[in-house]
Amino acid sequence: MVPEMGYLDEQFNQLEELQDESSPNFVEEVVALFLKDSPRLLSNIEQTIGKYPQDFYRLDSLVHQLKGSGSSIGAVRMKNECSVFKAHCNDRNLEGCRRSLQKMKREHATLKQKLESYFQLLRQVGPREHAVNSRK
C-alpha cells in the first residue's frame, strides 16, 4: 500500500485515526481536497518561475503553501522536495528551482495515481473491511 512505499508518512495514519462513523470518508475527502488544490499551486509556481525579474519571495510563499498542505496528508516525498525548492529560493538559484519543480510534478503525479488506486481498492473491499474508528 501507499504508506509502505515511502510516499506517505505517519501523518497519513493520523488522518485515518480522525476518520470515524460520523465522517467515514474523511481521509478520501482530505486527499481529494489536496489533489484539487495542489495542481493549482504547482501551476502558479511554474508561472512564477517563468516571470522576469524572478520573484523568489513569491516562489517561496507558494511552495510553503504546498509544503504545508502536503505535510498535512503525510506526502513526505513532496514535502521533502518542497524543502529542497525553498533552499534553492533562499540561494536565488533559478535553475535549481526549475529542476526541483520538475521533481515535485513527478512526485505529485505518482502520488495521485497511487492514492487514487488505494481508495479505489478500499471501495472495492467495502466500508466494513478497512479501519474506521468508532467515536470515542
Binding site: 493520523q14 480522525l18 475527502e29 510563499s61 504545508g68
Partner: protein, 125 residues
C-alpha cells in the same frame, strides 16, 4: 472530555483547515473558520468571542502574528492563542506577537489536545 469551547481556526489552506477542524471537533469544540489574519481580526471586531484561537503564520492579506498583535490590542487578553506553522522560525514570531503556545505543523492531536484541555479546565474553574 466534554466541552463547548468556541474555537477560531485561521489557516489559508483548505486542507489544513479540514484536518485541524476535525481534531478540534473531536475535542468537542464549536469551530469558526477564517482564511487569513484579517478575517480573524474581523471576527473579533464583530463582537465574536472565542475560548481558543489556532492560527497559521503565513497567510495573504494579514499574517498570523500581525493578527495576534491586533487581537491582543483589542483587549482580547484571555483567549488562548496557539500559533501553528511548518516554518522553523515561527515560534519566536508568534510568541513575540502575543501567542500563548506554538505547535509545529503538521499538527498532531496529542500535542493540541492538552492545550484545549487547559482551556477547558480554566473555564471550569
Amino acid at each position: 472530555m466534554t466541552s463547548s469551547l468556541k474555537a477560531l481556526l485561521v489557516d489559508y489552506m483548505a486542507v489544513e483547515r479540514m484536518v485541524v477542524s476535525s481534531m478540534l471537533r473531536n475535542f468537542h469544540c464549536e469551530i469558526t473558520l477564517a482564511k487569513n489574519g484579517k478575517e480573524a481580526v474581523d471576527m473579533f471586531l464583530e463582537g465574536n468571542e472565542f475560548d481558543i484561537v489556532v492560527c497559521d503564520k503565513d497567510m495573504p492579506i494579514m499574517t498570523g502574528p500581525e493578527a495576534i498583535v491586533k487581537i491582543r490590542a483589542m483587549g482580547a487578553t484571555d483567549v488562548k492563542i496557539v500559533g501553528v506553522s511548518a516554518d522553523d522560525n515561527a515560534m519566536e514570531a508568534f510568541m513575540g506577537a502575543g501567542a500563548d503556545d506554538f505547535v509545529p505543523k503538521p499538527v498532531r492531536p496529542e500535542i493540541l489536545q492538552p492545550m484545549v484541555q487547559e482551556v477547558i479546565n480554566k473555564k471550569k474553574n
